[in-house]
Symmetry: C2
Subunit: 203 residues, 2 copies
């Protein structure tokens, strides 16, 4: 499993926010934050895992399909889990999801093959997620705190940022509390709404 990568796909405003102000339960993306993901909502690749039919197939589709299909397991923070209210009865992941928390909670099995396992500590979460991913990559799902912990620990290999043509002016920043560093840009895909840039962390 040495070639399993730790990856991340995230939509960010031009001013560096991944959620608007006042994020919380029922408002997981914060005020105005839904616009960050506007490029994805109408795609067939978004609608299908959310149980909807139809939708567009274009340059963005490939990016979203890669984001959804490449990882065999996902790691998210507990706050994100709570803000999304557990993603309902049939979450869009359809794979094992590991939720970082110091609470001792029983695993949750949802419809559509999504399982939530609650784990403490990023190294521990990563080990379990790599096992569960069965040779596929592991994605960091967010939120910002979780992403920042993985970056600071040198555990993130690659990230793809979908840069939305928005100024949010406030909210949750992707790169707060992250130490200076250099990345290697490996791929750029432009689409009508956003610019998808893939970076590899240089160590």
């Amino acid at each position: 499993m040495a070639d399993q990568k730790v990856i991340m796909d995230i939509s960010m405003s031009l001013d560096g926010y991944i959620a608007g102000p006042n994020d919380g339960p029922g408002n997981g993306l914060g005020d105005g934050g839904e616009e960050l993901h506007e490029w994805a909502y109408d795609l067939a690749a978004f609608r299908e895992p959310h149980g909807q039919e139809g939708g567009a197939i274009n340059e963005d589709s490939k990016m979203l399909e890669e984001a959804m299909n490449r990882p065999g397991a996902i790691i998210c923070g507990k706050r994100m889990f709570e803000n999304a209210e557990g993603w309902g009865d049939n979450p869009p992941f359809h794979k094992p999801v590991f939720i970082l928390t110091h609470e001792n909670l029983e695993p949750l099995e949802k419809e559509g093959s999504t399982t939530f396992t609650f784990v403490s500590g990023i190294e521990n979460a990563l080990e379990q997620a790599k096992d569960a991913a069965a040779g596929k990559d592991v994605a960091i799902g967010g939120g910002a705190d979780t992403v920042q912990q993985f970056i600071e620990a040198g555990l993130l290999d690659e990230m793809r940022i979908h840069i939305a043509p928005l100024i949010l002016g406030g909210g949750v920043r992707l790169f707060d509390h992250v130490s200076p560093g250099r990345l290697e840009k490996t791929r750029v895909v432009d689409s009508e709404l956003v610019t998808h840039i893939t970076y590899r962390f240089v160590r």
Copy 2:
């Protein structure tokens, strides 16, 4: 002159900084900030106006040539002027430059056709710069305060951001104090080091 545009070309780190920490006279780009402009230093289009010979010609050249040739006049903040220590005897602009300040200062005429005129207020500066540009566009040269004032006043038409694959972790943010808004992405040019994205302000 109704088709004169107010434009800006600026290099920004992935975490939104256009200068590193501790910027000041003699350290105009702040600690680590020079890396933001790494994509430009070796270009013939950069070396020539700086009085050096040779240099590379590539995808980045076109971006830099446009940034340098499109404007007929430039507006900068006084702090930037001071941090750059007036750009020496032969500044790289070779055109009229208007420096925003409330001080009453005499114009400076430098070698190589760069003139510095000191003006108070962004509307006033823009009016004078448009006249001096003789039909060409007016560029906002920076720093961040000046750019933010122009954006907030709705006076910036277009900006091209050169996104450098860097996390600076601190310094001067491009979009601090800017109100939420939507932009139109009009052009993306990828090069080895950076991604050049052009946005138009939607009003």
